[in-house]
Symmetry: C2
Subunit: 402 residues, 2 copies
């Protein structure tokens, strides 16, 4: 009955693995309903993670490595889908489409100095390889379409946040804390054209990298905020961090590993390497919470956009220290996680990309210009299918929907 079955794939800037979500999507009176059937998180092994780190660093990313990893990840994503099919007891014939974000290895939303140094973004994990590995049609590589309309190519999940959470009763900030932090602001009774969205700054990216270094690579994140709870805030470091000029830039704005990656953390260790290592974690966690709260104060409530409720998703929502500090800095708002709305914080983004892919397949806009800064709405995404049966399942879905 017009119900689409899709698999969303998200591989975030934290480079830890790929999340896969099998969902049913149904359009009712123009509204989209999504139901998570099964999910799976695959961790990259150390070899892949190291290769990815190299490909994500402009100095070590050769065209050979980019090309190889594009193919390799396409297969890796396909393997994740095949495992999810087994786990959910489904076969490829049951699935209309896969929608994959891909692995971002470069994102530069601003014009450079020369004519040809134009804004660009690069997501790898080839969708044809993914389709061949699974036998299912694949949508992916979303961001370039928005940039072609002069958008920043991010944030993309805002459109889905609007579909899922917009309300006539209250104004809502949907906060994702993945590698990067991002907010979608949904004014009470607002239209999709009124949605505001921007990257608040780092999410787990700086915390994770600091933890990785002080544990000599044994831990890749601060599980349950255990380290942060033990340390105390170093005010001098915190003062330096909050003064980073990203936070004074007006939205729409996006950021990534280019600003808050390894070299950023190296600079912290250069200047503050002698302070207690737990204190380092506590301070960058406090700072991460503060960047979110300050962003709200500076660019939302401070500009007359009331916030009744904050709905936090992404890995950061599982760090209780970070959540406590965020609630502390936002005393007038209810701070919840996505679970309150029966949506997995862990798989929120994978679910979101399934919805974006679904819209692409239907030939409908799946982006919000006011969120990305684009001139106009566009349909984002590219589609690949390597065999006629995958193509036919896609077409059968379209024939029901359109």
């Amino acid at each position: 009955m017009g119900k689409a079955v899709g698999i969303g794939l998200m591989s975030g800037t934290s480079l830890d693995g790929v999340d896969a979500a099998l969902v049913e999507i149904e359009k009712k009176n123009g509204n989209i309903e999504v139901n998570l059937i099964e999910s799976l998180a695959i961790q990259y092994d150390d070899v892949i993670r190291r290769e990815l780190m190299e490909v994500c660093s402009p100095l070590s990313a050769t065209v050979q490595k980019i090309s190889s990893m594009n193919m390799f990840l396409g297969k890796e994503f396909g393997n994740a889908v095949n495992k999810l099919l087994v786990k959910s007891n489904r076969s490829k014939e049951d699935i209309h489409f896969i929608s994959s974000h891909g692995q971002t290895i470069y994102h530069q939303p601003l014009q450079g100095e020369t004519e040809v140094d134009i804004p660009g973004t690069l997501q790898i994990g080839d969708i044809s390889v993914l389709s061949e590995t699974t036998g299912i049609a694949v949508v992916g590589d979303f961001r370039t379409a928005d940039m072609a309309a002069n958008g920043q190519g991010a944030p993309l999940v805002s459109y889905v946040d609007y579909l899922l959470f917009h309300s006539t009763d209250k104004s809502i900030a949907v906060q994702n804390i993945g590698g990067i932090g991002n907010v979608t602001y949904l004014a009470k009774n607002g239209h999709s054209n009124d949605v505001q969205s921007f990257d608040t700054g780092p999410g787990n990216m700086v915390i994770d990298e600091v933890v990785f270094r002080i544990t000599n690579g044994k831990s890749t994140y601060d599980k349950n905020g255990q380290i942060a709870y033990k340390g105390k805030i170093n005010q001098a470091l915190l003062d330096q961090l909050v003064n980073h000029n990203y936070f004074s830039m007006n939205p729409p704005k996006t950021t990534g590993r280019e600003l808050f990656g390894k070299s950023f953390v190296t600079a912290i260790f250069n200047d503050f390497g002698d302070i207690d290592s737990a204190d380092l974690v506590t301070t960058v966690t406090e700072w991460t919470a503060l960047t979110i709260a300050n962003s709200y104060n500076d660019f939302l409530t401070g500009k007359g956009n009331a916030i009744d409720e904050v709905i936090v998703g992404g890995g950061g929502s599982y760090n209780p220290y970070l959540m406590e500090r965020l609630a502390y800095h936002l005393p007038d708002m209810n701070v919840y996680t996505h679970e309150k709305y029966n949506i997995s914080s862990d798989f929120k983004e994978a679910i979101a990309f399934a919805i974006l892919g679904y819209q692409c397949i239907c030939g409908e806009y799946n982006q919000i210009p006011s969120a990305t800064g684009a001139d106009k709405p566009v349909i984002m995404g590219k589609t690949a299918y390597t065999h006629p049966d995958a193509f036919k399942r896609l077409e059968s879905l379209r024939s029901v929907l359109t």
Copy 2:
């Protein structure tokens, strides 16, 4: 009635510009008929050409440059399409689709030493940007799908050669001389599964680079073979060149700038820089003709595959010295150009990619495993459309065809 109107775009390894061909395609009793309506060749300006050279050289190709040029070329290709529309007095509403090869910046069909160093290929010129620039749906990025099925990702035009030239009367070698030389062998009365195809070696690539250097960049190719006619063959150099180990490898095999690019020419100048510069051009041109003839002798006629006719296409077919030498080395065959079959040699590849894109849109296989070495047939190509009207034109075409 079921006639598709498409635009094929080809930007070859010679990096000189992009060819655009507006064609009508019709399927009749399973055979495809193609009719060239209008064509246009856009030369890259010096800035773009220089940037492309840098992106095509693994040492200077940064992820930032790759990302920027991916977006820039998408727009550049779109501008070429828009000019072709003006020239042909058509509007975007008249065109069902664009099919773009993209600019190859890396092609490595063989497994490397480490697990993750898998074969890969990278074509840039983003198809979403191209769609946004033109308002027309775009198919592109073909090669990865074949590689996903363990093919070499090349040659792709063989499938189209089969559609256009297979014959019950004679055995045919379709020879393209672009940057790289490639042959498609069509046995008399053969089936598509019997097609053989491989890269014979350099096409114009080495000749062009030698001319570029001896003229200090004033000429980018040997127009009408003028320089080659003036010089004489240097036997020592020729002997060294014909012994390159690529020529002893068995097909299927593909090659590119990695083997016969700048560093290859630098080696020639290091060893033979003191000989007359016209002699250099004459010798590499003779060698290019010889590599084709030797390839036929070693891997086709030498293995019992008779050749009655050679149909040459690509820029090299306009070099009379090269054509004369080729005919000289193939005394038992009729050597023609594509023009004999009313197909523009210049636009052969652009026309071919329009046909490959058309098949992708129809959800039909567009590759020949025996040519690429793949395990099985696949549908190559990815599709992008950034506005509903472009999507609807694509769907309207599909509804008539399928």
